[in-house]
Symmetry: D3
Subunit: 293 residues, 6 copies
């Protein structure tokens, strides 16, 4: 977005990247997401055409660079990322992150943690609440179960929107039911519509601190092909934009957009979609930080 480069302490909202995909079990490439999203963001301009939100005029926003990672050591990377986000939290900036695979949300939540579990609004084709995969407990299919177990998220204040795709075992949904995590499948979303579903989502998280995680694969692969685990039958970008705009009023303490994989995105449209969705997120975050227009 042709933004200035700055330190977290100098800004209200910090745009950050996490070039890490070591939690990916099949098709990688999300480590290159931050670079390409930055590249494509040069096509994004300053003022939202529908809401007239102009976040750069209301807040100090800057690109604060990439979190440190070790591309060949997932465990060390999780620690490095968590430490980095703790420093962002301590600097007083609200982070808007470009991933990276979805495992990065776990260390982000650890770093931002302030003692009480947060709410979560989570857009995704997959619930990412597996217990393990290949016997491994820390990968891009498990972050939200770990975050609940660690007390970083309150499952009663969590909602997942856009789920779909065949699963390996019907028991996968039992965990969510057991802890009270609300799952809204794509069929329900399409039948009820964006506004109705998002009203319920706002009710679930309420007025308290909430994190927002947006996996690009909630969008149909026709619109966002460049991702590691595409699932057909998703939302359009028009619907995705509407979903994010309905976050207005939520007390957002941070957000991320993950799983953009440039090697799988030959035309660059997924990175452009990612950059545009980050602008949409930024507009609602600006409102959360600076108050409504």
């Amino acid at each position: 977005m042709r933004l200035p480069v700055a330190e977290p302490a100098e800004v209200d909202v910090a745009l950050l990247g996490i070039p890490f995909d070591g939690g990916t079990t099949n098709r990688t490439g999300a480590r290159h997401g931050p670079r390409e999203i930055r590249n494509q963001s040069s096509l994004v301009r300053r003022v939202h055409h529908a809401t007239l939100a102009s976040p750069f005029d209301r807040l100090r926003v800057a690109d604060c660079g990439d979190a440190p990672v070790n591309p060949v050591d997932p465990a060390e990377s999780i620690e490095l990322i968590a430490g980095f986000y703790a420093s962002v939290r301590d600097a007083g900036a609200v982070p808007l992150t470009a991933g990276g695979d979805h495992l990065v949300t776990l260390p982000i939540l650890r770093g931002l943690h302030r003692g009480r579990p947060r709410g979560l609004i989570h857009f995704d084709a997959h619930s990412d609440t597996y217990d393990e995969f290949f016997g491994n407990r820390y990968n891009h299919g498990t972050p939200f179960r770990r975050a609940i177990e660690e007390g970083l998220l309150d499952p009663k204040r969590m909602v997942q929107i856009g789920l779909r795709g065949a699963i390996s075992d019907a028991a996968n949904y039992d965990f969510a039911k057991g802890v009270g995590l609300r799952q809204i499948f794509i069929e329900e979303l399409m039948a009820r519509g964006v506004a109705d579903v998002m009203a319920e989502a706002r009710d679930i998280v309420g007025a308290e601190e909430t994190y927002v995680s947006f996996d690009i694969d909630v969008i149909d692969p026709a619109f966002a092909p460049g991702t590691g685990t595409p699932e057909i039958g998703g939302v359009s970008t028009f619907q995705a934009q509407a979903l994010v705009r309905e976050l207005a009023g939520v007390a957002i303490v941070g957000a991320d957009l993950v799983e953009v994989s440039p090697p799988l995105d030959p035309t660059g449209i997924t990175a452009l979609t990612g950059a545009t969705m980050m602008f949409e997120l930024l507009c609602v975050m600006a409102e959360a930080v600076a108050g409504p227009l």
Copy 2:
């Protein structure tokens, strides 16, 4: 779908491929469809997220390989395919086939024939009921006229859904009207919706044996670009999945998914769509074979 390999006699539903596109008049490549659909099917898992159908648990399902073809002799290929499907029929397996171009449906129907014409639910952008093309009567634009003429299909129990695209001669539609074949154009489908149209389709085929043919080009080329004769203005994959789920209750004796052309599909999304749609077909076929859940 990471399935075992087996002989037709050992299974209830046989997944088959027909690597043949010798009936294609313009852009070929569908001969490579079975291979790429198999490749992409490794991303498909076991349990349907919406219906919880789990066909592999209820039925014996296996990959029974490819039908024999001669890539440089269409006439011989038709005979080889028909013979192969007759053996599948005699082995008692219900075939779910990955094409290949749409001409392959004719020898499949010949091979599966048991003396009485079947009904047909046919998803396609094109009616494929031309009489001839370049003076040739056996190509991917003519299989359904030939099948009616040969008594393999009962036109009164046939319905075509999703038709669109400019045609070379308005008289093309006269044949369908003359024999009582119901054609539902995309405009009618979009206006009435999936559920209403499919209720009519189930009425048309009734309770008797019915074949299902799914041409990937009924889906819009934004979602499934890798096909030889793309027509803009088609259904989304979400709608395509809904169309297939509404086949529940139909007495399916076989199904195919055709016209996936990998050379025209650089990102692989069409093959993934094909693999996912085959899983959807398998779920409703499992119900047809094993009874409702």
Copy 3:
């Protein structure tokens, strides 16, 4: 469309190309649009599947070639194009043009001008009514402001449909409001539907002479990725076709389809979409020229 080649004086509707993108400020390539649209148009056939319009049977239609341009001199190109369209106008042919970038609409309007400002129905993601860009007043972001200033268009009889995308300055919309140009954003279009919006559009332009300009980027980049300034959240091709069919009854004096950029369109789907949309435009233009069916 496998059309004959002819001179404008011999035809009712002249299909023309303008291989020019010298007005493009960022990603070029629209200069190659006419060639690829012609290439892909070989997949388009003669009769409209929904309206049964058959323009080639009712009118003399031919490919009259490309307008002259100088690829390295925008100012000279504008003069060359305007002169060429004046000769088309004087030959009595109604032009349907494949661009080129959107700057070409300005010299087309100059060439077709007959003393009175025309109405305009304009499909686009962008309003293209900037005053200047890089200090330059003649580029693909400014043609409609110039055309209003020059008296070629009557802003009270202008409507822009499908606008979206972040803008650099909220003041951009003030010009439109000031001159009475009606702007229908994508959110309004999606909420009201195609039929309702187009009824208003027909009211705005009324019964008098009207030009139609269709920027391919009004369509979502999932459906038409090959364009210089893609904006996510656009219309589907199904909606785009419906928009154009609702032009029936408008007194069309010319139309263009612009901003197809083949270098950004590796699968050719955007050029195919462009060719198909030109066929849709041709069908409604045929009605405007020859009278309703």
Copy 4:
């Protein structure tokens, strides 16, 4: 090459296309070769930079269109092509053909036949002298055996240059040895150099009538990836140009360039290579027809 379109009777050298790949056993697409070679030939100019040959100034050269084919009937296509080339022969034009797959050389030779077998200089990675494939005797692996059997070519005056790639059976080379066909493998070509090998080739064909067949896959796939049966380890385009220039002095009665497959050529470089090689062939053919410069 931006050439005029004309009838064979009006020209000395006729550029022709054969949009046929029905003889291809694996990866098709060569049917689209003529169109893309024409497209890319717009980058080719009039005067050879090294020889200063200027064939358009010395001879009447024109694009005489495509041979008739039936895309879904190989046997009929062979007859149609042979008849077409007989008419070219009778019109007195020397044909330079863009294929199509290599099977097309057989009907070309039939059509051009005048009673005596010709010599052949054949550039290819494969000898294409199989007896049959899948039990079929007329496909792109068999044309030269058929042509020898039919008396169209004299094996003692034949030479194949650039052969390589693993083969299915070492006995394949026995046919060539038996009939006296000289095969120069890539290892020999690289060791001896272009000039030496081509001197031998000119000796083999002597002063009598000779046909030239150039399969694009003799060139390494790094330089010409868009072909159905790529074999690594081939010649560079620089070497390919040198090979063709060394044809000077040969009594060429026709030439072809085959196996350019645009669907396998996303960047268009293979079609450009094909167009450039056709210009090289044209320059030596012009000398053969009009006499040395």
Copy 5:
């Protein structure tokens, strides 16, 4: 190569895959190498065109599947791979492996170890003898230093061929000099020629057991673009084939071909090159196992 599937104990040479790229510090994708190399190997046939080697006739050769890996745990993967290769060794099969990134050579060597260090002929653009990277000692830049340290390789009997590319620190070459590892840079290879360099290489390894490691990036990216760390100025595929054929006579105890990255290989040419080079390796390995022809 359309091979049968078998257990290592049933074969003389075992073709294996290691779908692992967790040692890659920048551009991943080599984990998909085994699958695509298998896919492309269907174009490879049985008999070598130049040497007439026919390994499948002399030896029992089969595809023995993939080594087990954990895609999100590099350390565990190294153990799994080493254990798997120990079982291959104990079964008496000589392994020919498709990687995977270059880190996989370390656990292969561990698994194959029999107490004495082996010689190594190593084709690569990079020496892969870094001590660490990001503080990490086990990644695709370090395997050969580790193997020397662990006594798996004897540096006096090691030669690296084709090295090139800017380096981060001139001290990188000191390690090689210190241990007596011979490094032949691309400039020396091009100046002396393949035969001369390979004669020296055979002298270096002598008559004792030697492993061969072929990194696809020794080949120029024009010929093999699909790799994670391309370096321009490499060998052609013709030269690469000649290099491998000059291994005749070496006592090969195993070989690998690594760093083919399909996501970076849109045309598939790199996987085809990999499959063809594996056939070349197989031919010389067959001679090593079964004795000269």
Copy 6:
């Protein structure tokens, strides 16, 4: 190259970009060259593997950003660029530029001019000494004729290396002969070899100030496909690197690398080649500025 960003006055060698392709008559895209070359340069490291040159240790080198341009006004762009380079000259920095199309060399030479014509070593497939094109005298086919006419270059101290490709008129070469400009065609380069040709080139320019211009299209399109006017039969990257290394000893006052066109470069290999060649140029420039190692 992960360089610091700085002002020209702070550095010895300034890396600069000119994002301009308004002089391109056919296929554009070179305006995006600087960005992608920067992107790919992250793969380039610090020390030359063959010469051990380490320019960043001997000189102050930095990325000094892009020259100002107006993308829709070629004439104004020429003035802006010339002014910018005059300021670079006055700041005392030696510029190494990433284009942009080849027209940019003209304003660079204007800006760097100090009263006396310079020598030129020019690597290119095309001589770029046309007088005009489309009646236009300032485009990417004319810069060197203009520069000679304006006294910026001394034709007696100019040499062009690698020329090839058909031309529109044999008279094109008369200009070069008339002014004494030495043209070395690809055939001569390949026959004599790099070292011999470059010895002559160094003789031609002598010890006085010389500019170096490297058009990426001198390299064969197999190695560098992403350029607007590819010509087959060029040099390999290995040869290109050797050509540049032979510039050692030349009194270089500036250099450029032009015509990298990212939209035509889907795999990024051309930008990587461009970045690597710029590193090669930097190494010889460092020697020219700081003295031999």
